[in-house]
């Protein structure tokens, strides 16, 4: 999951998604919502199946991006992209926004 989030917001001279706290941001939602938890665990299995015989985390960045593009329109894909962007650019409940990464990155 961390590898997936870091393809949605990769590192440049600013932090990646997980470096900015997006994993914790999403896990907080998953812990409170069994249906969302199911969407994430099923989706992560699918993306590893698509990556087989390797696992998603073992692939290079370009191959990973191709797989993200394949799941983009699915329920899981659209949810994980939306929540990663939300965690990165918004919300004082994420570490990213406590440090105002959203404004620092864009300004």
């Amino acid at each position: 999951m961390a590898a997936l989030l870091d393809r949605i917001v990769p590192e440049d001279d600013f932090p990646s998604a997980t470096q900015a706290g997006c994993l914790e941001f999403i896990l907080e939602f998953i812990e409170r919502d069994p249906i969302l938890s199911e969407v994430y665990s099923a989706g992560l299995m699918v993306i590893d199946q698509l990556a087989s015989p390797a696992q998603f985390v073992e692939l290079g960045a370009q191959e990973q991006d191709l797989l993200v593009a394949r799941i983009e329109g699915t329920r899981f894909g659209s949810t994980v992209i939306r929540q990663t962007i939300e965690g990165y650019y918004a919300g004082p409940r994420s570490r990213a926004a406590q440090e105002m990464v959203g404004f620092k990155v864009t300004c």
């Binding site: 393809r7 600013f14 939300e86 918004a90 990155v105 864009t106």
Partner: protein, 529 residues
């Protein structure tokens, strides 16, 4: 049994203004507010995902997300259960001050022709377009009173508007994007004016000037420089026996007998109570005021019809060089050139630069179709575009439809066991046409200001309401087509008044809050004579 001189339901722009006007005249007033007394720290601070601009996971005021459902019927006639933070709910803040606690505070007067839409343009078939029974001149003295009582900052009016007394405060800080747009308007020969704001540009009324933090619209003000009914009215009257504000007090029924309203039943922390008054003013916003009258058995064909808010004629634009200076409030310059006199469309609206945009809002609402929603390309775009971005937008004067309605849902009940509001219908298609016309004008403006890229989505037919909700208790001389008379008094009831945006015949091509305040002041002044 205590009998108040007046009971007011709601403490927002309309209810707060009514209470202020009556209390100034020495009347005893009870205000029933279903929400809580909130301040900056109890309004979710600056949570960019839970506020009144982006309510992804909740919002920064009441009502609570559970127990306050509504039913929104889509254009195919399918009903959907919606919670307060979800699309289709048409939410307005539920707390002391209501929308004035979290608004951007644009303090526009309506244009004189906004009161005469039907006689100016004719009534399109299927619409309920009508003239107001009162004119701009009737309201002008009350506009002036609230501008000075509530505290407005700004400069002289645009050339399209009548002259008026200067505001009590000069304009807030100018922004870089404001200067660019001013230069663009000058090139086109369009008149402009500073956006008038219910925000202190300097110390006023014992509170500080704006701290330029950019978070006006959707949020409470961290330094209390925004002027609303909570700080200007209720803070000042706190502790005085002649104006009592009860929070957590949810009005459930008006006690109607013959031609009078004797009082209001309400639930306060689950306990049913009754208050009696010589006069009763309902200002619970267009959805809830209509619902309360329906729950109370008021019969009127027009009750709950003509629900309207505003369509927004928005364009996003990128400039070559960075133009972001981080200076709030951000809404700084407007043109009123297209509020009226447009060829081929009905009405029009004001155009202005928007309040400063949160990065997440740009990511969600303003990403052009040719930019990926994730990955390096998305991050590169966010970093490049944000400091070069301007959003020009403005409220379009809606052409109302009698089919845009608030009714009581036959099945769904709230946590008090009362039928919830059922919202259905859509604006008249002419609204969509005028919006497309206004979008084209916004585009022209941005081009003249030097934008390198401009994009927008086409407007669709739908129902609007939200924080600008209006129209459901329309004002008029004919009881067959209106709910209140020209003085805000409900037809058939000699001491019952509506004092919020519900009475607007049409909702102007402007943010409506100053009109709600001025009209409430007029209604209360006439009722207290």
């Amino acid at each position: 049994m205590k009998e108040w001189d007046a009971i007011v339901v709601g403490s927002g722009a309309g209810g707060g203004g009514t209470a202020q006007t009556l209390a100034e005249r020495g009347l005893s007033v009870l205000v029933l507010e279903r929400g809580a007394w909130l301040d900056y720290s109890s309004s979710e601070h600056r949570d960019h995902l839970r506020n009144h601009r982006l309510s992804q996971y909740g919002h920064s005021t009441g009502p609570p997300l559970e127990g306050n459902d509504r039913v929104a019927v889509d254009l195919d006639g399918v009903p959907h259960l919606v919670k307060p933070h979800q699309g289709g709910y048409q939410n307005n803040a539920s707390c002391v001050g209501s929308g004035t606690h979290v608004y951007g505070g644009q303090a526009w007067r309506f244009h004189p022709l906004d009161f005469k839409m039907a006689s100016t343009y004719g009534k399109p078939e299927g619409s309920s377009l009508a003239d107001w029974p009162i004119s701009y001149e009737d309201l002008a003295p009350f506009y002036e009173q609230v501008e000075h009582l509530m505290g407005v900052s700004g400069g002289p009016p645009a050339p399209e508007m009548p002259t008026r007394r200067a505001y009590p405060m000069p304009p807030v800080a100018e922004t870089k994007k404001g200067r660019l747009l001013k230069a663009g308007a000058d090139r086109l020969g369009w008149g402009t004016q500073v956006v008038p704001l219910l925000i202190n540009s300097q110390e006023w009324d014992g509170r500080p000037g704006c701290c330029h933090c950019q978070h006006c619209v959707g949020f409470a003000c961290p330094v209390d420089a925004k002027n609303g009914t909570k700080n200007v009215v209720f803070s000042k009257w706190a502790g005085r026996p002649d104006l009592q504000l009860r929070t957590g007090a949810h009005a459930t029924k008006l006690i109607l007998e013959e031609r009078r309203c004797k009082g209001v039943r309400f639930l306060e922390r689950g306990i049913e109570q009754t208050a009696y008054g010589k006069m009763v003013f309902v200002a619970a916003s267009a959805v809830e005021s209509a619902r309360l009258l329906l729950l109370s058995g008021v019969e009127s064909w027009a009750l709950g019809r003509n629900l309207q808010g505003h369509y927004y004629a928005g364009n996003s634009a990128l400039f070559e060089d960075p133009i972001w200076d981080g200076v709030g409030p951000g809404a700084s310059i407007a043109t009123l050139k297209f509020n009226h006199g447009n060829v081929g469309v009905i009405g029009g609206g004001m155009l202005a630069d928007d309040f400063i945009m949160m990065p997440i809002v740009m990511a969600k609402w303003s990403r052009p179709a040719d930019v990926s929603g994730w990955g390096k390309a998305h991050k590169d775009w966010m970093r490049h575009a944000y400091p070069r971005f301007i959003n020009v937008t403005g409220p379009v004067h809606e052409i109302p439809s009698p089919l845009a309605r608030v009714e009581l849902d036959p099945q769904v009940r709230d946590s008090n066991g009362l039928p919830v509001a059922r919202l259905s219908g859509a604006t008249h298609p002419e609204t969509v046409r005028t919006t497309a016309f206004m979008q084209a004008r916004g585009r022209e403006w941005l081009e003249a200001a030097g934008a390198a890229k401009i994009w927008s989505g086409p407007p669709d037919l739908g129902l609007s309401g939200g924080q600008h909700q209006a129209g459901t208790c329309r004002m008029g001389d004919d009881p067959a087509t209106s709910v209140v008379d020209r003085n805000g008094q409900v037809h058939g009831y000699e001491n019952l008044y509506i004092a919020d945006g519900s009475v607007h015949v049409t909702n102007g091509g402007f943010n409506p809050v100053l009109t709600i305040m001025a009209l409430a002041r007029r209604t209360a002044t006439l009722a207290a004579l």
